[in-house]
């Protein structure tokens, strides 16, 4: 049988999902061709805004040429399909290509609606839909001070957030009496407006834009129907979307009254060889402007093509979002449209909380809800509503869960969910699939993610997925084993608490308290690190030295021939000529190889153990300190010259980098920590690749956390914007100490963030709202570490007992005659006999 030829018009999120499903599971039966009018294959439009905060176009890509090639999918980018020839079953493209099909799939998505306001077609007036739109908006922002978003719905607020990030004075203009009119009621909308205004975004409701004319103080002036006006340099229209149904319209395929390509449960249009899926499709007179229903449509179409029985039968439009840092969620019948339903609401203006629930007439079932300010109930409530789970308590308990002690108890927790309950809506993963995965041996969230895809889309379901997983594990009698090693049946963070609470200061005490045996390569260095993070005693103290791993053991990085490297601290990368000269003189005297490191400082290689104290004495006498290149501790704080020299600098990044480096030098942590400070958004210090990245803004600093270079690079996430010096240091203090307290051994902040349940939002709650009520303690622990800092090398060279170890032989002054150097480009290098080394 020859392959059926499927042509997919539009390679957006849904079109790609369709192709991926079909090619992966039924690749042998179909020949697939897809057209995209955009300049790239499908990308994650849901995450579009993250393009401004660190994700590149490549990061956002969902489809790649390589993957399509591997799947045998033929693709054409920059190629618009301009008409359909249904009689001959062909599509015709803008460049004149004619391609035949057996079955056609329209996945053309939607386009932003721009109301016919006079003056709308001028430069610096945009929409917010594609990566190209975002490039153009960023371009406009460079020559703008003020920006206006027309439309206060979900996307409008997201666009407002984006231009605020770009540094514009931001306004939102809304036609309706409240923000997010579709999802929120008036009280919820009012509260959201207050919260957003607190963040410095001006909100203007009930404003109908009449025209856009030349401005006085800005590029444009918007005149409103009520006679008022607003001046702005750039405008983004976000006034809703319209289904992209032109192709269907021009070829007489049935549309809805107000547009949209009408489809049945199989996603077939009025032409039985043509499907429509995603935002261009109209099912039961409804357009679905979210990605999850589109994915379900894609699956239904694939199923129909392959004789399956999956159908599309409507979808829930509940949403949970974070808009300008404010959590907002709406579930089911949020407006109480169900006859005789009852509404309850809870408003706490002081802390900016609004919760409303809509309950069935008999008071037993949750029909809908609105949450503003805190959406942590979303997952649980959504399940209650979707599965019509009978409430076990009076409904008002939902609003005030504290009355009951535990919120989950209201509906019976995750155990009350039926097996078919959809837990992850992005990938349509049911509770049953998660339970099956656990039964098949997935015991952590990473494993669940990779075998079910749950939680890999918007991430909103991760807390719920985790609850289901944990409950299953408990039922299977599996206790999750995160013991640090065979000597301690505790995780690192549990051990940390034991050491802290019982004030344990050495390994013997720790073994006596909670361990067995004598310890190993896993628990010893971990314990050494925890002792140092809490008590900050010298790592070469008699009780501690036997715990140290290779590099801490002799306060230097051991090289492949057993010699050491020497890295003096150069805070912020700033160094005086005298220090440069001294480093050069030492290198000459001891015949050391010198190299500028990737961390803005100088490394001296090839010193023998015996030579370390004398070399360090010279450095310390001249005022240099150890750079802790050997420690799982702060490495460098990279800086740029900033406002002191650079014509673009808006803050003194060098001074800030030096201050930060001096504050956290020597602080030992689960893994090494790197930081950087850039003086403006050009980001010459590459702060977004660091564990802690700081970028200057006109009003202060933006703090990023969780970046990583190395083997698995990760962009840092924006933690706080426009904060002052004091707040910056306070946040870093708390986050660093919280990381030290809770991370696993050798876990960089990047992986720690990824595993932190609740992620960035949770971290913000801990740090900014002090949700766990531990900030004072964390701050005072950090203060202790700062106050007890010592240059480890300075202490060592003044302590004869410690110096005894710095000799190759305990019973002779000889050097190791097995260390042999060759000459490479005029400097020493280990001889090639070491190249036989193999790694295990």
């Amino acid at each position: 049988m020859s392959k059926q030829k499927i042509v997919v018009v539009g390679n957006g999120m849904v079109g790609h999902h369709f192709i991926d499903q079909l090619a992966t599971n039924h690749g042998d039966d179909f020949q697939i061709v897809t057209f995209s009018e955009e300049s790239r294959l499908a990308y994650d439009r849901v995450m579009l805004t993250s393009y401004y905060t660190g994700n590149s176009a490549d990061d956002l890509a969902l489809a790649t040429p390589d993957a399509y090639d591997a799947q045998g999918v033929e693709y054409h980018i920059n190629e618009q399909v301009t008409s359909l020839d249904r009689t001959n079953k062909e599509v015709i493209t803008a460049s004149g290509k004619k391609v035949s099909y057996d079955k056609l799939v329209l996945a053309t998505g939607s386009f932003p609606f721009v109301p016919p306001v006079p003056g709308k077609d001028q430069p610096h007036i945009h929409v917010y839909r594609t990566l190209e739109d975002l490039d153009q908006i960023a371009q406009s922002a460079k020559s703008s001070k003020v920006g206006v978003v027309i439309g206060g719905g979900l996307l409008g607020l997201e666009a407002a957030n984006a231009i605020k990030q770009l540094g514009l004075q931001t306004h939102v203009v809304e036609f309706a009496p409240r923000l997010m009119a579709v999802q929120l009621d008036q009280d919820g909308g009012d509260l959201l407006q207050r919260k957003i205004e607190d963040l410095g975004v001006a909100v203007h409701c009930e404003k109908n834009t009449k025209e856009i004319v030349k401005g006085e103080s800005c590029r444009y002036r918007m005149n409103f129907a009520d006679g008022s006006h607003l001046e702005t340099d750039t405008i983004i229209f976000s006034a809703g979307i319209r289904p992209q149904d032109t192709l269907a319209r021009e070829s007489d395929i049935t549309l809805g009254e107000r547009g949209g390509i009408a489809i049945n449960d199989q996603c077939l249009t009025s032409d039985e060889d043509i499907y429509a899926i995603g935002e261009c499709a109209l099912w039961d007179n409804k357009i679905y402007g979210l990605v999850a229903p589109g994915y379900t449509m894609a699956k239904a179409a694939v199923s129909h093509l392959t004789d399956g029985d999956k159908v599309f039968s409507g979808s829930d439009m509940s949403t949970k979002l974070k808009l300008l840092g404010v959590e907002v969620a709406s579930i089911g019948d949020a407006h109480g449209n169900t006859p005789n339903s009852q509404s309850y609401s809870f408003v706490d203006s002081a802390s900016g909380l609004y919760k409303k629930i809509v309950i069935s007439e008999d008071g037993k079932v949750l029909l809908g809800a609105v949450l503003v300010g805190d959406s942590s109930d979303y997952g649980q409530w959504l399940q209650l509503a979707l599965n019509k789970i009978e409430l076990t308590h009076p409904p008002e308990y939902l609003l005030l869960p504290e009355m009951d002690g535990e919120a989950g108890a209201v509906g019976g927790g995750v155990d009350a969910l039926p097996p078919a309950a959809q837990i992850c809506s992005c990938y349509d993963v049911t509770k049953q699939s998660i339970c099956d995965a656990v039964a098949d041996g997935a015991t952590d969230i990473g494993a669940i993610k990779s075998c079910t895809s749950a939680g890999t889309g918007c991430g909103g379901c991760v807390p719920l997925v985790t609850q289901v997983m944990n409950s299953e594990l408990t039922k299977l009698g599996v206790s999750v084993d995160n013991s640090i090693c065979r000597h301690f049946s505790y995780s690192r963070s549990e051990l940390f608490d034991i050491i802290r609470v019982k004030e344990i200061r050495n390994f013997d005490q720790l073994l006596a308290e909670c361990g067995t045996g004598d310890g190993c390569e896993l628990c010893k260095p971990a314990a050494a690190s925890m002792f140092a993070s809490l008590w900050n005693d010298h790592v070469l103290d008699k009780d501690l030295v036997g715990l140290q791993d290779t590099n801490d053991n002799f306060l230097g990085n051991m090289q492949k021939d057993g010699t050491y490297s020497i890295v003096p601290r150069v805070p912020g990368g700033e160094i005086t000529p005298d220090h440069l000269i001294l480093i050069g003189e030492i290198a000459k005297e001891y015949n050391l190889y010198t190299k500028i490191t990737g961390g803005q400082r100088i490394d001296l290689f090839g010193a023998q153990l015996n030579e370390l104290p004398a070399i360090w004495k010279k450095l310390v006498d001249a005022g240099l300190e150890t750079g802790h290149a050997y420690g799982k501790s702060l490495r460098t704080v990279k800086s740029c010259v900033g406002s002191t020299w650079c014509r673009y600098g808006v803050q003194d990044s060098t001074t800030m980098a030096i201050d930060i480096e001096k504050r956290y030098r020597g602080v030992r942590s689960p893994h090494k920590v790197k930081m950087a400070v850039s003086g403006c958004a050009r980001e010459c210090a590459e702060a977004q690749s660091k564990d802690f990245g700081v970028i200057a803004t006109d009003n202060g600093w933006n703090l990023y956390v969780g970046g990583n270079g190395g083997m698995r690079p990760r962009h840092a996430e924006l933690f706080a914007s426009d904060i002052d010096d004091k707040t910056l240091v306070r946040y870093i203090d708390i986050i660093l100490m919280f990381y030290i307290r809770t991370a696993d051994r050798l876990q960089r902040t990047s992986v720690w963030m990824e595993n932190l349940e609740g992620g960035l939002d949770y971290l913000k709650e801990v740090v900014i709202q002090d949700k766990l009520n531990i900030n004072d303690e964390l701050l005072s622990q950090m203060e202790h570490l700062v106050d007890t800092y010592q240059c480890e090398w300075k202490t060592t060279i003044n302590d004869p007992q410690k110096l005894k170890r710095f000799s190759h032989f305990i019973n002779s002054d000889k050097l190791d005659d097995n260390v042999i150097f060759t000459d490479v480009r005029g400097q020493i290098a280990p001889s090639d006999k070491y190249d036989l080394a193999t790694e295990i």
């Binding site: 004598d518 290779t550 051991m558 305990i810 019973n811 295990i840």
Partner: protein
């Protein structure tokens, strides 16, 4: 200073036990051979163990600077460079059956650590 004190039966004085921090090692020069000596200390006992200082994997003289580890009451040294472990009693490498290192006779005479010449 390279004076080596010879006692009876080829036992050579190396250093004081207090020169070896608990559960760590030092390197001794035994007539030109490099010997790694470890001080194993637990709540009940003090022992010394001696193996070659040469790490056959990295080909560097560094085993005395490795971390001491324990499994089922056997003690090992982990190479500071590539982390292979060697049994301090037999010299056998844990990760590679075909590799082992020389062991040496070592004893405590009071506070004195002594190695035996071959």
């Amino acid at each position: 200073m390279t004076t080596q004190q010879h006692s009876e039966n080829n036992w050579v004085d190396i250093c004081a036990l207090s020169d070896i921090p608990p559960n760590s090692g030092v390197c001794a020069d035994l007539n030109g051979e490099q010997v790694a000596i470890f001080h194993l200390k637990s709540s009940s006992s003090n022992q010394v163990k001696a193996v070659s200082n040469f790490d056959p994997f990295s080909r560097a003289n560094i085993l005395s600077r490795g971390l001491v580890t324990e499994t089922d009451n056997n003690h090992f040294v982990a190479s500071p460079l590539l982390k292979q472990q060697f049994c301090l009693t037999t010299g056998q490498c844990e990760q590679d059956d075909s590799m082992s290192i020389t062991t040496y006779q070592v004893r405590l005479t009071g506070e004195l650590v002594q190695l035996r010449e071959a």
